[in-house]
Structures are given as C-alpha cells and as structure tokens.
C-alpha cells in the first residue's frame, strides 16, 4: 500500500460548468441554470459526475505522467455544487492498480474509484 500525493483542487466556479457544457455537449440545464436546479429540488446547480471523473483522471495522470490508463471505474457518491473544494487522495494497492477517493473539505465523499495503469514500457 503506497499513499499517493494528495491533490487539493481550486474551488469549482459556475463558469467552469458552463465551459464544460460547451466542451462536452451535455447541455442538461441542471448543471448551468440555477432556476432549473432549484425547480428539481437542489440548492444550486450540480456539477456533472463526468466533470469530477475528468478531474479524477487528471489526478491519476499527475501521479503517473509517463503511464496510460488501462482501466478506470468510478462510483458517484453525492452531488457537488459550485464553491466546493475537492480533495483527491489515492492509494496503490498493487504495482499497477490503485484506488482514488474524492471528498469535499467537510469530508463528504463525492467519488470513489479504482484504476489500473499500463506499464511505462507499453
């Protein structure tokens, strides 16, 4: 078991979600229009799971810059709102496989996942 370096992200801003909408093509307004999110019972717009997974993948790339992913699995645990600071931690459980956890600063888990990286030679 090897702990990976903890990564603390910048707070997520609403504009980040607007940019991600345009880039990904996911135009569900629950992610960008506060009135729509409120109508659905949320306090604010919600960050897409795929945005958080994108940051998780970026963290793995930061931990292993020379190695590509072979597989990556995540479970989305709770919704995330703008203003949240995400803290990403990881542990290697074997030579090529690790676990990743994303929490907010109040210790609420947003994402948990596992990954396998390819050998650097391949």
């Amino acid at each position: 078991m090897t702990e990976l370096r903890t990564i603390i992200k910048k707070p997520i801003f609403p504009i980040d979600l607007v940019k991600y909408s345009g880039a990904s093509g996911d135009f569900n307004e629950i992610h960008t229009v506060p009135a729509i999110a409120e109508e659905k019972g949320f306090a604010d717009v919600i960050v897409r799971g795929m945005f958080v997974m994108g940051w998780a993948a970026a963290a793995i790339e930061e931990w292993f810059p020379e190695r590509q992913l072979a597989s990556f699995n995540v479970r989305f645990q709770a919704v995330t709102h703008p203003g949240t600071v995400l803290v990403i931690t990881g542990t290697m459980v074997a030579e090529n496989s690790g676990e990743i956890l994303i929490k907010d600063q109040q210790d609420s888990t947003k994402l948990m996942g596992s990954f396998i990286v390819k050998n650097s030679s391949s």
């Binding site: 093509g25 659905k40 970026a58 992913l69 699995n73």
Partner: protein, 141 residues
C-alpha cells in the same frame, strides 16, 4: 438491441477545448509535436473524452434516451462509470460507438440501466469500452 451513435471525427480543436474545460495542463492535449515526442501518433484524447463522442454528435445521447431507452435524460442520475482502454484515440480518428443495454432492473423504487458502449476506430479496432449505470428518478425529492 443496439443503438449506434453517428461516426465521430475527433478534431484537435475539440480535444483542446475539452482539455481546457477540465483545466488539464498537459501540453500533449494541445500540441502535436509534444504529443509525438511523448510517443503518440497525434494529439491524444483525455481519458474521459468518450463523453464528447456520446453527447456532441449528430446521433447522440439525447436520441439514445428519447427513442431507445424511452427515458427523459433530465430525469436520470449517473451512478457509475467505467472505461477500459485498448488503443489510444488521437485527433483525426473517426470513432463509431455502439451502445447495448446489458441489464435493466428495478431496485428500491428506481429503474437501473447498465449500458455498455463499444468505441471503434476507422480500422474497426476497439479503442475503448465504456460501462455506465444510469438510474431513472421519477421525481427528485
């Protein structure tokens, strides 16, 4: 029953935009020379780029939901996502994606759909496989 997304030409500008939206600082996502010197055939896609193929397409996620799954895409939650990576996709590749409902079940008042998407390149090689758990929520409490 399978659903085919429209073939999707991966453009360098789309990769750059997606990488920028995720604040990815690795220059391989925007500079071909850097990507090639890192051993790639061209500018590679970030690991979650398949979502762009699903959404930013002429025949896409919205038709998948409305016509194939008969679900409102605004009434679902994304529970889990997994990807297996077989061959790196780079700018210039054309990717054809095909979705199957692997399993569908009802649990605790919610409908679950396990979707498997196979991504193939212009040479018909499998580049990646995605597995998503989609949860239908009738109403958000």
């Amino acid at each position: 029953m399978v659903f085919d997304y429209a073939p999707f030409l991966i453009e360098a500008g789309k990769i750059k935009e997606f990488a920028k939206a995720l604040q990815l600082e690795n220059p391989i996502y925007r500079d071909e020379e850097t990507a090639k010197s890192a051993g790639y055939r061209g500018i590679p896609v970030p690991p979650t780029f398949m979502t762009v193929i699903d959404f930013w397409n002429d025949h896409n996620f919205y038709q998948l939901f409305a016509d194939f799954l008969k679900l409102n895409p605004n009434h679902v939650l994304h529970g889990e996502q997994a990807y297996d990576y077989y061959k790196v996709m780079v700018a210039g590749d054309t990717i054809s994606a095909q979705v199957r409902v692997k399993e569908q079940f009802h649990k605790k008042g919610k409908n679950f759909f396990l979707l498997e998407t196979i991504y193939r390149n212009q040479g018909n090689e499998i580049t990646a496989v995605g597995r998503a758990t989609i949860i239908e929520i009738a109403e958000v409490d």
